[in-house]
């Protein structure tokens, strides 16, 4: 009797499992319908939750103080105390210049950077509105609104109300008032400067009130910010990658990446448990005495789970692109690298769970726990990286497969990077490392559990 080579034997195994998988049509259909349903629901919920005008959070703003005056320092200080803005660089970080700020936004590391040009302080002292430039990623509309809320109180505080009349005049002109009437309004505002200065000053009823109410989008200062946000003389410059689709928001890219990774993990762990089913039904006993290398059984399962994963992710990508138009297929080579890497890593995880678990229930329990924890930590449910995480949480986040898988897709979708970019290669490399470790462990467990000596 001729011994069958390992690859044909593994392929025979995989074909049989594919036949079994698709024979149970309800289960197969659920495998495809569940991720689609969740992506749809989460996609729309996130779009509504984070795309609305009243949504608030504490968002990052990079600062380039090229003026270096007492006024600019006061403005930076007021922004640092803002309840809506998290200023970078932090006090323990090195200052950045404009070129570095531009690079941060171009790389997707930052979404907003403010430039205070030389002369900022002198212009304020002269009672005139200074030029404030804002470099921004136009896809981060939510963050743009939140930063807008934070700017006015800080600007009022830094200028001690000195610029209030000029701001009023600018606001009126922006609203379409003719120059003569606007000048009259400015004159009236001059008479109220003392009151405004008192309102803007730090302390009870002053700056604290601004900060507190700025955190509450329904508060008085927030209303003031919403009403007068045109009064802060910001000139915005958009720095988006040229090929990014206009429909794509950062939150949508995050949601699609996260749901895709999480649901693929659930799907492939379920597929991987066919190894346990073989054991429970007795067919593994016959496979183990077949004249093929025992590793062919594990490799066959790996092929089966991988093929199911590629099919699932393919259907999900086509559906996501058809509904959300996020430019998923803009760079097929990068997409292929990311999909292949993700499938490899998740397949390895599924096989590891199957090799470890003694029963189907064990596999279900372990996989549900690990997947949900990794999904939450990795940012698949909500954009955890928007928040200031403690160091331990940051490390935990980076230990998850979901974090790196999502990072790869975000780099492709949001930052429009290709597979040769170091950030994408880093995400790919970590996933490949995860896959190698997982499949190595799975092989050891399989041999110990099923093969013996």
């Amino acid at each position: 009797m001729k011994r069958k080579a390992i690859l044909p034997a593994a392929w025979t195994m995989a074909r049989k499992d594919l036949r079994l998988y698709f024979r149970d049509r309800s289960a197969a259909l659920l495998g495809f319908a569940l991720p689609i349903a969740l992506v749809t629901v989460f996609g729309f919920v996130m779009k509504i939750a984070f795309g609305g005008q009243d949504a608030m959070g504490r968002v990052e703003l990079w600062m380039v103080d090229a003026d270096g005056s007492a006024r600019s320092a006061a403005f930076v200080g007021a922004l640092r105390d803002s309840a809506t803005i998290r200023l970078r660089p932090r006090l323990d970080e090195d200052a950045v210049d404009e070129a570095e700020a531009r690079a941060l936004i171009a790389d997707g590391e930052a979404h907003h950077a403010m430039i205070l040009d030389p002369g900022f302080g002198a212009t304020v002292e002269a009672g005139e509105l200074p030029a404030i430039r804002m470099l921004r990623d136009p896809g981060r509309a939510l963050e743009d609104r939140i930063i807008g809320y934070g700017l006015l109180p800080a600007f009022l505080e830094a200028s001690e109300g000195k610029l209030w009349p000029a701001q009023i005049e600018r606001g009126m002109l922006e609203a379409g008032m003719d120059a003569q009437a606007a000048d009259g309004v400015r004159a009236a505002a001059e008479s109220m400067r003392g009151i405004i200065a008192s309102f803007a000053a730090p302390g009870p009823g002053g700056g604290e009130g601004d900060a507190a109410s700025a955190a509450d989008p329904t508060g008085s200062a927030a209303a003031l910010g919403g009403l007068f946000d045109q009064m802060v003389p910001v000139e915005a410059e958009d720095l988006a990658p040229p090929e990014r689709p206009k429909m794509l928001t950062w939150q949508l890219a995050q949601t699609i990446s996260g749901m895709m990774v999480m649901m693929l993990m659930f799907g492939l762990v379920a597929a991987g448990s066919s190894l346990i089913v073989e054991r429970e039904t007795g067919s593994l006993a016959r496979l183990l005495v077949a004249p093929v290398a025992r590793d062919a059984i594990l490799l066959g399962k790996f092929l089966f789970v991988g093929i199911v994963g590629l099919l699932q992710i393919g259907v999900l990508l086509v559906y996501g692109e058809a509904v959300f138009r996020v430019g998923m297929f803009r760079d097929p080579a990068t997409l292929a690298v990311l999909v292949f890497t993700l499938t490899l890593a998740v397949t390895s995880f599924g096989i590891l769970v199957a090799a470890w678990a003694g029963t189907t229930k064990q596999a279900e329990g372990l996989s549900t726990l690990v997947i949900l924890v990794m999904s939450a930590l990795g940012g698949a449910w909500f954009p955890i990286q928007l928040f200031e995480l403690p160091l331990a949480a940051q490390i935990a986040t980076r230990c998850t497969l979901t974090h790196w898988a999502m990072s790869g897709f975000q780099q492709m979708l949001w930052n429009q990077k290709n597979w040769m970019d170091p950030d994408v290669l880093g995400a790919v490399g970590v996933q490949l490392g995860f896959a190698l470790v997982a499949i190595g462990l799975a092989q050891r467990l399989f041999r110990r559990r099923y093969v013996g000596g």
Partner: protein
């Protein structure tokens, strides 16, 4: 001599399941391995089949050292019919046969012939393309049997192949096994049913507490036990005792 097993020992942790079993199989015979529950029959069969690896003792096949757990080439000389129904219920009988046939190394032409031969032997020609989940217990047992013989192994190992089947299916299995013997196949057969062993086996070994405590033709065993006119069941009870055996 086709298979020689000497001083076979196997432990599950601290529990010694096979404690030095020795027996020999001649080519072309049906050899019965009889014993009460927990005597070590299935463990012995698993060691021979390659399902268990860390056994001690010696096995020789056709005069050569035999290590089926580690050598796929050695496993290729065996066919195994496990006690459990090792089938894929959502595949048809033909698909089950094709899958295990391919895994056994059969090429397309010989695979088709082997599948047809197996279906005929199991009496399932007219239900070949039905899913196994729709089969009766007896039909599943018959399919389970022929799956082990698909690649025409030199030695077919059968672990209680008639458990839970009706008399018709049992008779069909007997006839199939006799046909295999006539075609020159060697069979190692474990069973609880003494009348089966009496009808089918050329020689039997009675295994008790992990050791072979008697071996030979049924008549030779009866003589050894001092009851020359007794049937195999009476001999078996005389050798192994009447107390219940509820061990694993």
């Amino acid at each position: 001599m086709l298979l020689e097993v000497k001083e076979l020992r196997y432990s599950y942790g601290d529990r010694l399941a096979v404690a030095g079993a020795s027996f020999e199989l001649e080519r072309g015979e049906i050899f019965g391995l009889l014993g009460p529950n927990g005597a070590g029959k299935t463990t012995t069969l698993s060691c021979v089949a390659g399902g268990l690896a860390d056994w001690q003792g010696e096995m020789r096949f056709d005069g050569r050292p035999f290590a089926p757990a580690r050598m796929p080439e050695d496993r290729a000389r065996l066919g195994v019919v496990p006690q459990e129904l090792a089938l894929y219920p959502e595949l048809t009988a033909r698909e089950n046969l094709q899958f295990f046939g391919r895994l056994s190394g059969l090429e397309a032409a010989e695979l088709a012939a082997a599948c047809d031969r197996g279906l005929a032997l199991a009496g399932l020609d007219d239900r070949a393309d039905d899913r196994v989940s729709r089969y009766s217990g007896g039909m599943k047992r018959r399919l389970n049997l022929v799956l082990g013989d698909l690649h025409a192994p030199e030695l077919l190992l059968l672990d209680e192949p008639t458990v839970g089947v009706d008399p018709q299916s049992r008779n069909h299995i007997f006839e199939a096994l006799e046909a295999l013997r006539e075609s020159g196949r060697t069979l190692l057969y474990t069973t609880h049913y003494m009348e089966e062993a009496q009808r089918l086996c050329d020689r039997v070994a009675i295994i008790h507490e992990g050791r072979v405590v008697g071996a030979g033709t049924p008549k030779e065993l009866a003589a050894q036990a001092g009851v020359p006119d007794a049937n195999l069941e009476e001999v078996f009870l005389r050798i192994t005792g009447h107390q219940l055996r509820d061990g694993a």
